[in-house]
C-alpha cells in the first residue's frame, strides 16, 4: 500500500541523492585537503618553545626592501634586525652611536668621513667594506628606485659618495649639512650584489638575524645570524605574524600565542601584560590657511582654544597621551620646553570666532574635518569630539573618515582643489630626532605636507637648518614658537604613547624608537633556563 503514495518518481529521488552526495563529497575533499595543508600544530606564530621569539604586528609589511625602512611597517622588521646602518641614534639620549661605522667627522664644510668597521660580514658571507656602504647610500639616495628614505630623510639632496679605502668612506653634500650622519642613520647597508634596478623582496644585511622565509599573508621567519659581528641575540629564531584587530593581538599575548604585540588598544589590553611608551607621534589638526574661514588666524587660534585636550586624552585615549603644544615631542632636537598646550577656553574661542565674523569672515562656511581610519585607537570618537568642540564655538564642521590613500591626497602636495576649507587630523612621527625633518615637511610654506606659510618662517627654518649643537636647538625651538604665535597652521592635540603587549616570558623595555625599529636583540627570556 505504501508504494501508492504519490510522491516524486524514483528517478528524481535518485537525482536528489546524487546532488546531496556530490555536495557532501566535495566538502569532504575540501576538509581533507585542509587537514593535510595544516598539519603543523605550532600555530602561525610558532610554538612557545622558548627558542622562537613570536611577534604579532598590526599588518603585513608591504615590503622588506631596506631602502623603504622609513616606512613603519617595514622598518619595525628590517631595521637593526636584518640590516644595519652606519650609525644609529640612541632613542633615549638622542646621541649618535657607532654601528657599522666606528667613527665619523666633518673633514670639510660639505664632506663627512666615516671609518668603516672591519671584520663584518653580510649574511651571504661577503665581507662588508666601504664600497658596500657607498653602494648602499647611492642605491637609496641617488638611484631611480624612488625609495621612501630618499624622500623623507634626504629630500632633493644628491650625495657624492666615495670609498677611499676598504675602511674609509666620504660623503659630500651640495650644501653644508650638519646632521648628515643622522640622515645616514636611515640608510640600511646592503651588499654590492643587491639589485639596483628593482627593490628586493628578501633583504640581505649585516644584522643579528637573517630572513629564512616569508610566507605571504601568513608569517615572516628569521634565524639568528651565526656570523654576526656583535653580541649574539638571545633567541635563535624570531617569527612575525600580523593581526589587524587590536583585541586579537591582545588576546594572543594573554593566551601565550605571542611574546610581543604591537600597537595595542587600551580598551582591550590586559594591563598586566602591557607596557606604555612614548612613540614620538604627535596628533594635530592641520588647518588649511588658504581657505576661508581658516585663512583668518583668529579662527585658527580659536580652534586651538576649543580643543579640550585633557578631556579627550582622559576619556577617549585612556590617559595614554600628553597634551601637545608643538609638533615634536620632548627628546627631539628643537623641542621647545617653554611652550605650553593651549588652555581649553571655550568662551575665548567663541569670542575670537565672533570677532572674525564681525569683520566679514564667513565663519559658517562648512569646514571638512578629515581623519584616517585606524590612525590610532579611538580615532572615530576623537574626531567626533573635535567636531563637537569646534561646533560649540560657532564653526560648521562635517567629518570625513578616509582610508590611507584618500587621506594622503589631502595630506600631500599637490593638495586637492575645490574641496573647501579642510582641517586634517594628522599624526606626525619624528623618527629622526631632529626638528628639521618636521619643519621641512609641515611648516615650510612649500613643504610637501604644509598648506601655507610665510617667507619669514621659511627664512627662520633655513637658518636653523644650517646650525648645529645648542644654536640649532634654540633656533628650531624659536621656529616652533613662532609658528604658534604668528602662523597657527596647527591646532595640536597630543603627544601619543604606544602600548606594547609583552608576554610574562620575555623581558624588553620599549623606547621612543620601538614603533619604528624593534630591536629583537634587546629582547631576552624572563627565565634563564627557558631556552
Amino acid at each position: 500500500m505504501k508504494s501508492s503514495v504519490p510522491s516524486s518518481p524514483r528517478p528524481e529521488r535518485g537525482r536528489a541523492h546524487t546532488v546531496l552526495a556530490l555536495l557532501a563529497t566535495s566538502t569532504m575533499l575540501l576538509t581533507s585537503a585542509c587537514a593535510v595543508a595544516n598539519s603543523d600544530t605550532a600555530g602561525d606564530a610558532g610554538s612557545a618553545d622558548g627558542r622562537t621569539l613570536r611577534v604579532v604586528l598590526t599588518q603585513e609589511p608591504p615590503t622588506l626592501e631596506p631602502c623603504e625602512s622609513s616606512l613603519t611597517a617595514t622598518g619595525v622588521v628590517v631595521r637593526s634586525n636584518i640590516t644595519e646602518p652606519l650609525v644609529e641614534r640612541d632613542p633615549t639620549s638622542g646621541k649618535l652611536e657607532p654601528l657599522l661605522a666606528t667613527g665619523w667627522r666633518q673633514t670639510k664644510p660639505t664632506t663627512w668621513t666615516f671609518d668603516i668597521r672591519p671584520g663584518v660580514t653580510f649574511q651571504n658571507g661577503r665581507p662588508f667594506t666601504a664600497k658596500d656602504a657607498a653602494f648602499s647610500i647611492d642605491r637609496a639616495v641617488n638611484s631611480d628606485l624612488a625609495c621612501n628614505v630618499d624622500g623623507y630623510v634626504f629630500g632633493d639632496a644628491k650625495l657624492d659618495v666615495r670609498a677611499v679605502s676598504p675602511t674609509r668612506l666620504t660623503v659630500t653634500t651640495e650644501k653644508t649639512d650638519p646632521i648628515l650622519p643622522l640622515r645616514l642613520s636611515f640608510v640600511e647597508i646592503v651588499p654590492r650584489t643587491t639589485d639596483t634596478k628593482a627593490k628586493v623582496r628578501i633583504p640581505i644585511g649585516t644584522g643579528p638575524y637573517a630572513v629564512t622565509s616569508w610566507q605571504t599573508g601568513v608569517s615572516i621567519s628569521l634565524a639568528r645570524n651565526a656570523d654576526y659581528w656583535g653580541k649574539a641575540p638571545a633567541y635563535p629564531r624570531a617569527r612575525y605574524v600580523w593581526r589587524s584587530d587590536a583585541s586579537v593581538r591582545a588576546a594572543m599575548i594573554d593566551k601565550g600565542e605571542a611574546d610581543i604585540a604591537t600597537a595595542l588598544d587600551h580598551t582591550s589590553a590586559d594591563k598586566g601584560n602591557t607596557v606604555a611608551y612614548p612613540n614620538n607621534e604627535t596628533t594635530a589638526l592641520r588647518l588649511d590657511g588658504r581657505e576661508a574661514p581658516l585663512n583668518d588666524i583668529r579662527v585658527r587660534k580659536a580652534i586651538g582654544l576649543a580643543v579640550d585636550r585633557k578631556g579627550i586624552i582622559g576619556a577617549l585615549l585612556g590617559g595614554l597621551a600628553k597634551p601637545a603644544a608643538q609638533l615634536v615631542p620632548p627628546g627631539v632636537v628643537g623641542h621647545n620646553d617653554d611652550l605650553a598646550p593651549a588652555p581649553y577656553q571655550e568662551a575665548a574661542a567663541r569670542a575670537l570666532v565672533k570677532q572674525a565674523a564681525a569683520d566679514g569672515v564667513p565663519v559658517h562656511r562648512r569646514i571638512t574635518l578629515v581623519a584616517r581610519n585606524g590612525m590610532f585607537a579611538g580615532i572615530a570618537e576623537v574626531t567626533e569630539a573635535l567636531q563637537y568642540e569646534m561646533a560649540r564655538v560657532g564653526l560648521n564642521v562635517r567629518i570625513r573618515m578616509a582610508d590611507t590613500a584618500t587621506h594622503l591626497q589631502y595630506q600631500l602636495r599637490p593638495l586637492p582643489r575645490g574641496v573647501g576649507p579642510v582641517a586634517l587630523l594628522i599624526m606626525h612621527g619624528n623618527q629622526a630626532g631632529d626638528a628639521a625633518f618636521t619643519t621641512s615637511q609641515y611648516l615650510q610654506s612649500d613643504g610637501p605636507q604644509s598648506t601655507f606659510g610665510t617667507k619669514d618662517l621659511d627664512r627662520r627654518i633655513a637658518a636653523a637648518d644650517a646650525l648645529s649643537g645648542k644654536a640649532r636647538q634654540k633656533a628650531f625651538a624659536d621656529v616652533l614658537a613662532y609658528q604658534n604665535t604668528s602662523i597657527a597652521q596647527y591646532a595640536y592635540l597630543a603627544h601619543m604613547r604606544g602600548l606594547l603587549g609583552l608576554s610574562p616570558s620575555v623581558r624588553y623595555r620599549p623606547d621612543s624608537a620601538t614603533g619604528d625599529e624593534m630591536r629583537l636583540s634587546e629582547v631576552t627570556p624572563a627565565t634563564a633556563g627557558r631556552r
Binding site: 505504501k2 603543523d40 608591504p62 621612501n148 630618499d150 628593482a198 627593490k199 605571504t216 584618500t406
Partner: protein, 309 residues
C-alpha cells in the same frame, strides 16, 4: 538540459561582465596609487614615469582594453605592492576562502535540515519556538562581534581554542567557521522550517500519513526531498555571500584568503590584484550559480522549463 544550461550561462554572464567592468572603473575613481608608492619628494618626472610604467596615464577606456586583452591571455598584471603576479596571488588566496566557505555551508545545510525539520514536524512546540528564537538571533548577530566574543570566551577565557591563525590542528577551524556559519545557519533553519511546514501539510503527506506510513520516512523521505529546492536556492545565494563576506573572518583571524586580499588591494590601490581577485571571484560565483541551477534542474524538472529563452 543542454538548452537550459546554455540559457543559464548567457543570463548569468551578464552580471559578471558588469561587475568586472564596474570594479575596473570604480577603482580608478578612487585616485592614483602614485602617492602611496612614491616618496614625498618624488619629482613630477618620477610620478609621470611611475604612471606611464603602470599604464595609469592612459585614458580609462584604453586601460580597460589593455586589461581585457591581457586578461584574455590569463595575464592579470603585476602587484604594485609585492611585485608578484596578480593571478598567482589570487590563486593562492582563493582556495583558503573556498575551504572555509565549503565547510561552513556543509555544516550550515546539515544543521539547518536537522533543526528546521524538527521544528517543522511539531509547529509551535517548544522545540519549534527555541529553534525560531535561536535562528532569528543567529541571523541577526554581527559577524565581527561574534568573532571577537568567540576569541575572548573560547580563546582567552576558557582556553579551548586558538585565538587566530591558519596553522594547526582542526581546532583552528572552529572559530572562523562558527563565525561564518551563524548567519547562514539561522537563515537556512527558517527556510527549511517554512518549506517543510508547507510540504508536511501537502495532500500527499496527509494521504501517506492516513495510510500509516512511517512518520520518519514521511518527514525525511518525502517532505524533506520535496522542500529541498528552496533550501538549495537560498544555500546557493548564501554560499556566494560567504565567498564575498569572508572579509571579516579573514581579517580578524588572519586567514590569507580572497576577502582579505581584496581589502588589502583596495586600501593599497593595488589595481591589478583587485581586478584579478574580482574577476576570478566573479567567475567562481558564476560557476557556482550554474552548478546550483543544474542541481535545481536535476531535482525539479519544472525549473528546466521555467527558464526564459
Amino acid at each position: 538540459m543542454t538548452s537550459f544550461l546554455r540559457k543559464r550561462i548567457v543570463s548569468s554572464a551578464i552580471p559578471l561582465v558588469f561587475v568586472v567592468l564596474g570594479v575596473f572603473c570604480l577603482a580608478r575613481l578612487t585616485g592614483s596609487p602614485v602617492d602611496l608608492y612614491l616618496p614625498l619628494s618624488a619629482t613630477a618626472q618620477q610620478r609621470a614615469e611611475f604612471s606611464a610604467a603602470h599604464g595609469f596615464d592612459d585614458s580609462i577606456p584604453v586601460q580597460l582594453w589593455d586589461y581585457l586583452a591581457h586578461a584574455a591571455q590569463l595575464d592579470f598584471g603585476t602587484s604594485l605592492r609585492t611585485g608578484e603576479s596578480a593571478g598567482s596571488m589570487v590563486l593562492k588566496a582563493f582556495p583558503v576562502t573556498l575551504q572555509l566557505a565549503g565547510m561552513t555551508m556543509l555544516l550550515a545545510i546539515l544543521g539547518a535540515l536537522l533543526v528546521g525539520s524538527l521544528a517543522a514536524y511539531r509547529p509551535n512546540s517548544l522545540i519549534d519556538r527555541i529553534a525560531g528564537l535561536l535562528s532569528m538571533t543567529a541571523a541577526s548577530i554581527p559577524d565581527f562581534w561574534f568573532a571577537i566574543m568567540g576569541v575572548l570566551v573560547f580563546g582567552v577565557g576558557l582556553g579551548w581554542l586558538p585565538t587566530s591563525g591558519t596553522l594547526g590542528g582542526p581546532e583552528i577551524w572552529v572559530l572562523p567557521i562558527a563565525t561564518l556559519l551563524i548567519r547562514p545557519f539561522g537563515v537556512l533553519v527558517q527556510v527549511v522550517r517554512g518549506s517543510m511546514v508547507g510540504a508536511l501539510s501537502a495532500p500527499y503527506v496527509k494521504v501517506a500519513r492516513s495510510k500509516g506510513a512511517d512518520p520518519k520516512r514521511v518527514v525525511f523521505g518525502h517532505a524533506l526531498r520535496n522542500s529541498i529546492t528552496p533550501v538549495l536556492t537560498v544555500a546557493g545565494d548564501l554560499t556566494v555571500g560567504l565567498v564575498n563576506g569572508a572579509v571579516i573572518v579573514e581579517t580578524i583571524f588572519g586567514w590569507p584568503g580572497i576577502g582579505k586580499l581584496m581589502i588589502d588591494s583596495i586600501l593599497q590601490r593595488d589595481f591589478a590584484v583587485l581586478q584579478a581577485a574580482v574577476l576570478i571571484t566573479a567567475v567562481t560565483i558564476f560557476a557556482l550559480n550554474i552548478v546550483i541551477d543544474v542541481c535545481h534542474a536535476l531535482i525539479d524538472p519544472r525549473v528546466r522549463q521555467a527558464v526564459p529563452a
